[in-house]
């Protein structure tokens, strides 16, 4: 066979390669270094890898590339502003997760060197979710995202809660993956291709087969982003998993799911919008109602944040439903996820500081008197709760504002009304945390180390910036959203 020079543009996938390669490197290090030393250096190494990938990603902003084109087909990987923006979200998620894990893991006796490796592998899958331009790659990226999370959820084995968490996540995750891949198969049957541009071209003539494919993929994504009625696993998994893992998956897995969902549904299935938009709108409404109402009765902060994360999936789904008929839908979703990243990770950072031992100190009653014990941390927690509720000036408010505006633009007035009402409801359980912190006295210990405090400070700062200067950031998400769709439609 003659030798053909590869036509791969490696720079595009370099951030993913760095993250995945960093994970593999961490695993290999154990062969050459003492285990204790690896554990000592793993967080630093992970931060270095993430920083390098971050710099590379920032450098790619504004550029559009495609690569890995099978013969006679469309490119499998696409890197546009949409993917770059999401990669920034994922890398920041990884960064903050390392910061909050550094001291937590040894404290609760979970300091395993596999932790950072699996986290980096999962991150590489998330990054490819946004870059995938082919359903095969979407599916594989989804699995690379999920499988390390199944394991991380069970990391504090043999705690029964953690084992239950891993089992439930694994079984329901595998089940939803099967439904998802069945959807891909039906879409392939209807359009004759798994490449998104070809799917876009063929899906309108795909008939009922294509619709069945779209429906099954919607169910698969619904599981991943924890949208009702596919949310059943979320509270138990979030409660049982080690809190740092919960923090990581509450942002990473959700944004990863939405990354591929936006790309696939808005661009490839855009022409079927009139069919799937009502379905997504109804799912969004159910998710908002279930998430916000059931969160009220949760006595455990991790379960409360689990239902809160279901509710926030509902708000992002509102933006997804709006994205076909409104030019602001995708950018609103991107902005909302960007704000959610900081607010949610910040809230989890404080929950981690307040966790005495594994699974102790996670009840809402443990937050009584936090304001006296640590005024600054209580203030930060109060600020995050305001942001999650959507009270200005916070990033959460800006995100909700853009999402509601896009929903109204798209003509889904009833959905916007549901969103506003459920936001008011959510104030009850978010502000109760503030009430408990400031109005009661209570005992408890706080574990505040510099790394965790850095994470809290940075997330507060970012939430504040997004709350005070939303316009400038919204312009950035607008650039990210528009180019993503233009390229695909043209390709």
């Amino acid at each position: 066979m003659e030798f053909v020079t590869p036509t791969i543009n490696i720079l595009i996938v370099l951030p993913v390669l760095l993250v995945a390669g960093g994970g593999a490197l961490l695993m290999l290090l154990e062969l050459f270094m003492a285990e204790e030393r690896v554990k000592q250096w793993a967080p630093t190494l992970a931060i270095i890898v993430l920083a390098l990938a971050f710099l590379q990603t920032i450098g790619l902003w504004g550029q559009t590339h495609t690569t890995f084109t099978p013969e006679g087909s469309s490119p499998m990987v696409i890197l546009d502003n949409f993917a770059t923006f999401l990669n920034v979200i994922f890398l920041l998620t990884g960064f903050f997760t390392v910061l909050i894990s550094v001291n937590y893991l040894p404290r609760v006796g979970l300091n395993r060197s596999e932790y950072y490796m699996l986290m980096l592998f999962s991150l590489s899958g998330m990054m490819l979710m946004g870059m995938a331009n082919d359903l095969i790659l979407v599916f594989l990226a989804l699995e690379v995202l999920s499988i390390p999370l199944y394991i991380l959820a069970g990391l504090s084995r043999p705690r029964p809660e953690s084992e239950e968490s891993a089992m439930k996540y694994f079984f329901l995750g595998a089940f939803s993956s099967a439904i998802f891949v069945f959807g891909i198969a039906l879409t392939y049957g209807a359009t004759g291709s798994t490449a998104l541009p070809a799917v876009l071209a063929g899906v309108s003539n795909g008939g009922a087969l294509a619709l069945a494919g779209v429906a099954m993929m919607l169910v698969g994504f619904g599981f991943k982003v924890a949208a009702a009625p596919f949310h059943m696993w979320t509270p138990d998994v979030y409660e049982g998993a080690p809190t740092v893992v919960t923090a990581f998956m509450s942002v990473g897995a959700k944004v990863g799911g939405f990354a591929a969902m936006l790309r696939v549904f808005v661009s490839a299935f855009g022409s079927l919008g009139q069919t799937w938009v009502p379905a997504v709108a109804v799912i969004a409404a159910i998710t908002l109602i279930i998430g916000n109402v059931v969160a009220i009765v949760q006595p455990n902060i991790k379960r409360m944040l689990a239902y809160s994360s279901i509710a926030h999936a509902g708000y992002i789904l509102m933006a997804v439903a709006a994205s076909v008929n409104s030019p602001d839908g995708v950018s609103a979703a991107l902005f909302y996820m960007f704000a959610y990243l900081f607010t949610n990770l910040g809230a989890f950072a404080i929950a981690i500081a307040a966790e005495r031992k594994l699974g102790e100190g996670v009840m809402l009653d443990d937050y009584k008197g936090l304001a006296k014990r640590s005024p600054l941390l209580a203030l930060a927690m109060a600020y995050f709760m305001l942001s999650l509720t959507g009270i200005p000036p916070t990033g959460g408010f800006s995100g909700k504002f853009f999402v509601f505006r896009a929903t109204l633009e798209a003509g889904l007035v009833w959905l916007a009304v549901v969103g506003v009402i459920t936001s008011v409801v959510s104030g009850y359980y978010y502000l109760r945390v503030v009430y408990l912190m400031y109005m009661y006295d209570g005992e408890g210990e706080l574990h505040t180390k510099p790394a965790l405090l850095t994470a809290v400070a940075l997330t507060v700062l970012a939430t504040l910036v997004l709350g005070l200067l939303p316009g400038a950031w919204y312009e950035i998400t607008k650039q990210a959203a528009l180019q993503g769709l233009q390229v695909l439609a043209g390709g």
């Binding site: 791969i8 596999e114 592998f121 899958g125 095969i136 594989l140 690379v144 394991i151 084995r157 049957g189």
Partner: protein, 181 residues
């Protein structure tokens, strides 16, 4: 005609054995039936001129995966003895749900999807695939997997996936701390 017979036999083997897998009370017998089901799928691959896939199906699914399942059942003695009822209290609900989904998908595929004359070619009228093409299957598959103008990125991603799954399996299977002490 010969193709149709192969197809019918393969389908009966795959579906009939598959039915035994999910209904049999004995896990071990279920594993054996699974092997027969795999064999039926291999026969269907053969009738589709996918010789390499049929061989891979035989070697990997029957030769390796089924044997592993049987080992796993035999090594966990409790599972060997149990004859669990595969039907639980939600059996009727699940049956109704799966029958509904099946009906919807079946009608979508058979009736609604326009099976017009242009895209349904009678079996007899199909041009036979040239032997040269069939013999090159393995070469083509290989270069499609690792070639730069092929599916190298999903291929490599799958290797990360397997690596993560392997590490995870070791973490899960490793003796619990109190067992070691």
């Amino acid at each position: 005609m010969a193709e149709q017979i192969t197809f019918i036999i393969g389908s009966i083997l795959a579906l009939g054995a598959g039915f035994i897998v999910v209904t049999n009370r004995n896990l071990f017998h279920g594993a054996l039936a699974l092997m027969i089901s795999f064999l039926g799928v291999a026969a269907i691959y053969l009738s589709l001129d996918a010789g390499f896939l049929a061989a891979a199906q035989l070697l990997i699914y029957i030769g390796a995966i089924s044997i592993l399942i049987i080992f796993a059942i035999m090594l966990t003695r409790r599972m060997m003895q149990t004859t669990e009822d595969p039907f639980n209290s939600q059996f009727l609900l699940a049956l109704a749900a799966s029958v509904t989904v099946f009906a919807i998908l079946f009608s979508a595929i058979v009736y609604v999807w326009p099976l017009t004359a242009s895209n349904s070619v009678p079996l007899a009228a199909k041009t036979a695939v040239a032997d040269a093409v069939l013999q090159d299957t393995v070469v083509n598959l290989g270069s499609a997997f690792v070639g730069a103008d092929g599916y190298v990125i999903p291929f490599e991603l799958a290797s990360i996936l397997l690596l993560a799954a392997m590490v995870g399996a070791i973490i899960v299977a490793w003796p619990k701390p109190e067992d070691v002490a």
